[in-house]
């Protein structure tokens, strides 16, 4: 069983401190605390960003930017939700900033493998999203990308437009269509 602020030890971290405590220490300019936070959170941040940007070089830069931002802005965390979610919010916005500065970026291919939902996956989807998972699986890749960027990544339509490299209006219309399809599927 685990919940936000779970005590976690082991792997690369000798500390029992929670993420919130570490973040407070980082705000007090504790380098070791930043290192521990990095060891805990960089390993999931890397693949999650890599799923949204095909260039590994950019992903590395964004991860570095993110933890430098955590170092500078640890004070701004006010205990609102998971530290992981807070870090993700920084990371995805850094990624969008970085992509915007490049003249053109190659957005991720929307589909990487055929969507064959096995029985095992159904369980996972059922656990995490209920029937929503199955409904999401039936959305077209374009609509799913928009839902992922807004509902799951927590981006505004403007930010999602930058990430996906499509006009903001398109994001809005696709989002409406996706919501309608999901509603129908879940009805």
């Amino acid at each position: 069983l685990c919940s936000p602020g779970d005590r976690e030890g082991g792997v690369g971290t000798k500390s029992d401190e929670t993420d919130e405590e570490l973040l407070q220490a980082v705000a007090q300019r504790d380098r070791e605390a930043l290192r521990l936070l990095y060891e805990r959170h960089a390993p999931w941040l890397v693949p999650r960003l890599a799923r949204r940007c095909a260039d590994p070089g950019i992903v590395e830069e964004v991860v570095q930017d993110t933890f430098v931002a955590v170092w500078k802005g640890a004070r701004r965390y006010r205990g609102q939700g998971d530290v992981a979610a807070w870090i993700w919010g920084i990371g995805i916005r850094r990624l969008i900033d970085r992509l915007r500065r490049r003249s053109s970026h190659i957005p991720m291919p929307l589909e990487r493998s055929a969507t064959v939902v096995s029985a095992e996956d159904e369980v996972l989807l059922g656990v995490e999203h209920g029937d929503l998972g199955a409904a999401l699986g039936r959305l077209s890749p374009e609509l799913r990308a928009v839902i992922q960027a807004t509902a799951l990544d927590g981006l505004t339509t403007k930010e999602a437009a930058r990430l996906l490299d499509i006009p903001q209006g398109t994001v809005k219309t696709r989002l409406m269509r996706a919501r309608r399809e999901l509603r129908e599927a879940l009805a």
Binding site: V11, E39, P43, P47, R51, E60, E111, L124, A145
Partner: protein, 279 residues
């Protein structure tokens, strides 16, 4: 989110290799945000080399000293970063130094304005010119060398030539001092030829003290130049009827000579700067 479900290694490995389809990957991401245990499992299989490489970049940035206002402004103006850092570390390019310069000149300007039209105005003007010519000398003397420069060792260790660094700083100090002196001159009661008469003397005196500092310590060199300058100015002013004799044609010609000779000495003895100057 409280859940008894956890991802297994196969799923996590599929995820980190980008092999999961969108729906499974998205739902795993949602789970990871709230589950420390699965994050830890993912971390245990992460690519150490890449993580360590990224961390060294982060710790470099985090450990770098915070760029001050001056340094950031310089970088904003297009000055390269390492030059900006060395410039910003120049003691005589600090605000306190400029304030001291402004006060010294301000006093002369005030005196000149107090005594408009009289002999004392001339004396105050003379004082203004003499001080304005001296400001960069003091500024440059305080801009480098052991004892006054907190970045002395950094400067010595930097791949940049010491002489080049010194000249960059001298130019910066000269420019800043000239700006302050010009502002002061605008506030003088009479705007005539004397407005810029200190410009060439200040350049000559600065170069002379730099040239002299290849023989003695920078501060000693600056002191000597200041002393000689004040002495010459006093003698020339009192012995001739013209108070501003040192700033007129003949005087300016002498300063051109001083500039030339000093530049020659600096070029000839540039090795001394590379060896850390005379001790």
């Amino acid at each position: 989110m409280t859940t008894t479900w956890h991802a297994d290694e196969g799923l996590l490995s599929g995820y980190s290799h980008g092999e999961l389809d969108d729906v499974r990957a998205s739902s795993l991401e949602a789970h990871l945000l709230g589950c420390g245990r699965c994050r830890e499992l993912l971390a245990s299989a992460a690519d150490r080399t890449s993580l360590d490489r990224m961390w060294s970049g982060i710790s470099e940035t985090v450990d770098a000293p915070q760029a001050g206002l001056v340094e950031r402004a310089l970088v904003g103006l297009g000055v390269r970063e390492h030059v900006a850092r060395l410039l910003a570390a120049t003691p005589s390019l600090r605000l306190s130094w400029f304030l001291a310069e402004a006060v010294a000149l301000g006093f002369a300007v005030w005196a000149a304005n107090e005594a408009v039209g009289g002999v004392r105005e001339d004396l105050a003007m003379l004082m203004f010119l003499v001080i304005a010519a001296l400001l960069p000398v003091a500024g440059v003397a305080a801009a480098y060398g052991p004892g006054v420069d907190p970045a002395y060792d950094i400067g010595r260790a930097s791949p940049m030539q010491s002489l080049r660094l010194l000249l960059i700083r001298a130019v910066a100090v000269l420019g800043a001092s000239a700006l302050i002196a010009s502002l002061g001159a605008v506030a003088l009661p009479s705007l005539d030829w004397r407005f810029g008469a200190w410009l060439l003397p200040s350049l000559a005196l600065t170069l002379a003290s730099l040239a002299l500092s290849t023989y003695v310590l920078p501060l000693t060199a600056a002191g000597l130049v200041t002393f000689v300058w004040l002495l010459v100015a006093a003698i020339a002013t009192t012995s001739s009827g013209d108070r501003f004799i040192v700033f007129r044609g003949t005087g300016q010609t002498v300063f051109v000579l001083v500039v030339a000779v000093s530049a020659l000495v600096i070029a000839q003895r540039r090795d001394v700067f590379e060896q850390g100057g005379r001790r």
